[in-house]
């Protein structure tokens, strides 16, 4: 009995946290389909920010175009909803102009990997201190179910009516190889882990990526007979393998599974800091003259 009430109180507090970070006046209900994973990611992001006790005024959330990229509009931060694929490039300007700001990018697999692929790899390479939360639902949601660079081989999309014959990006490998400091993968089923991964990404100096495996039951689910939101999210539960366990498993046990957790981390120098060092060096030289 007693235990029950404690749990309830905790739940209330957690939902209050969310409301504290949502824009009070406008724009609800949101544009997302009921059951879309985007809402879960938004909750995880908010809780991660709350845990870190960051000032709302120091956070800038930047996004591109897509269902996932609508998220900033609801959030009570400095928010910049930009053009399709360019969020990371806009974010680079924000961060460089005011490095003290915490810059977080919300993007989709189409937004970041297709049209925005170039900006993505170069931001990794520079290792600029931006956190990218990439919601991977393996499809273009907003434009109605076309395939993306992460759509599973053979899967159906409105522009892959006979099954997808293109090859897929492994986003996590791509980011690691391109030079990102912090590379993680979570899912919308594993909400608490996701929260921690986002928290770690924000804290980490340098380019951080959190790929979130999410569901678009409206298009991907329907076109591929993967069922409703619940069915798709349950699939994640059965197929996600934490990195700690994955490294111990023989490859054949990993077939059909995907790895989650903090997958790659390094301590390379960060872009804005390098730039500031240059400025400092030039100042000293000038003073010596």
């Amino acid at each position: 009995m007693e235990k029950d009430t404690v749990v309830k109180e905790k739940e209330v507090q957690r939902s209050d946290v969310v409301h504290h970070y949502l824009r009070p006046k406008k724009k609800f209900p949101n544009v997302w389909c009921a059951g879309c994973g985007n809402g879960i990611v938004m909750g995880a992001l908010i809780r991660a920010i709350d845990k870190l006790k960051l000032d709302k005024n120091d956070i800038v959330v930047v996004s591109g175009i897509g269902c996932s990229s609508r998220m900033p509009v609801y959030l009570d931060f400095n928010t910049l909803h930009t053009t399709h694929g360019r969020a990371i490039a806009f974010a680079t300007g924000v961060k460089m102009a005011k490095p003290r700001l915490k810059v977080i990018v919300i993007t989709g697999d189409g937004d970041a990997m297709a049209i925005g692929g170039n900006h993505f790899i170069h931001a990794c390479r520079r290792n600029i201190d931006i956190t990218v939360v990439l919601i991977n639902n393996k499809i273009y949601g907003m434009t109605g179910g076309q395939f993306s660079p992460t759509t599973t081989a053979g899967a159906f999309a409105t522009t892959a009516p006979f099954g997808n014959y293109e090859k897929q990006f492994d986003i996590v490998k791509l980011a690691s190889a391109a030079g990102a400091s912090y590379v993680a993968r979570g899912t919308v089923y594993h909400e608490q882990q996701l929260e921690k991964l986002i928290e770690g990404a924000i804290v980490k100096k340098g380019f951080s990526l959190v790929e979130v495996v999410s569901n678009c039951h409206t298009y991907y689910g329907r076109l591929n007979r993967e069922g409703d939101a619940v069915a798709m999210i349950s699939w994640m539960k059965d197929h996600a393998m934490p990195i700690q366990a994955a490294v111990k498993l023989p490859p054949e046990k990993m077939v059909g599974k995907f790895v989650t957790g903090l997958i790659h981390e390094t301590d390379a120098t960060e872009f804005c800091e390098e730039y500031d060092k240059l400025v400092q060096r030039l100042k000293e030289k000038e003073a010596q003259k």
Binding site: V60, Y275, K283
Partner: protein
Amino acid sequence: MSNLRKGKVRLLQGNEACVQGAIYAGIDFYAGYPITPSTEIAEGLARELPRLGGRFIQMEDEIGSIAAVIGAANAGAKAMTATSGPGYSLMVENIGYAYMTETPCVIVNVQRGGPSTGLPTKISQSDTMQARWGTHGDYTAIALAPSSVRECFEETVRAFNLSERFRTPVTVLTDEVLGHMRELMTMPEPGELEVMERPKPDIPADWYRHFEMTPSMVSPMAAFGEGYRYNVTGLTHDREGFPTAVPSEINEKLNKLRKKIERFTDEIYKVRTEMMDDARIAVISYGTVARAAHQAIKMARERRVHVGAIQPLTIWPFPDPIISDALKNVKKIIVAELNMGQMVNEIKRIAPRNAEVFFLGRYDGEVMTPQQILDKIREVK
């Protein structure tokens, strides 16, 4: 030489003058991608900005460059990029974003011949209409066209001022010859030219609306990180910056983009006229061509031809009233441009009914010569 480099009088390229003008105007941030004939602007700012505590970044392409510029501007920076035709083409979607989000920024387009990669090392003025109509949708553009090294400096300063004053992107249209030509110029002292800052809000954060309607039509602009939290989106939005589909709000937004500029054209127009008082023939040209026109009318006047010259330095919005006024008593109008006829259509639109308009175009990558213009004056006389 060191005297020239350091002193008040300096020998500068047009592109270098853009760099110096940007610094004079208080540039904080530059993002760009190299393209001939604009690269000296990036190179100059790569050298100067870190020393001044400003920030320079060479992006992976032009789309990223203008995106970073707009991001930086929203974080409070005076921001600029420079490019040439193909790069400008890549930027136009995001330039539209800057119009819609009322983000101040400056884009220098050092024109070369086109379409496509065209003539990278040759002169042209064929992006004149692109500077007006480059991006999709309805908006009012501001574009300036200097014709000398000194004007490259001054018009870059003015571009920053207008962009901050009206919260809008401003294009500076120069060209390959102007960008690379060297002239002596006396550097303006600090305070000699006006330098404007963007209007800032002076109300509590919870009253602040990022796209407020004000009598001046221009909304004060808080930067990210200053305690005002707001949403910026390229979607048509209401005064608070939230996407809207309400017809009256859509109308209000689009009207604002147009009116905040069209109501204040007095502050934007800049037109130079020369010997127009008794002119029966007018030569209208801008940019480098205006230099040839200046020579040509001098030569024609020596032969007692009543000819004058009109040179718009603001080419968008097109200075209709000033140019129409100058054309009142003119019977023949020659419009000289390095393209197949772009500004000439604006002149046809506003020319007095009893005046004839003649077009003199050149698009072979060479400059317009005074002789060519003189020949045209003779022909139409």
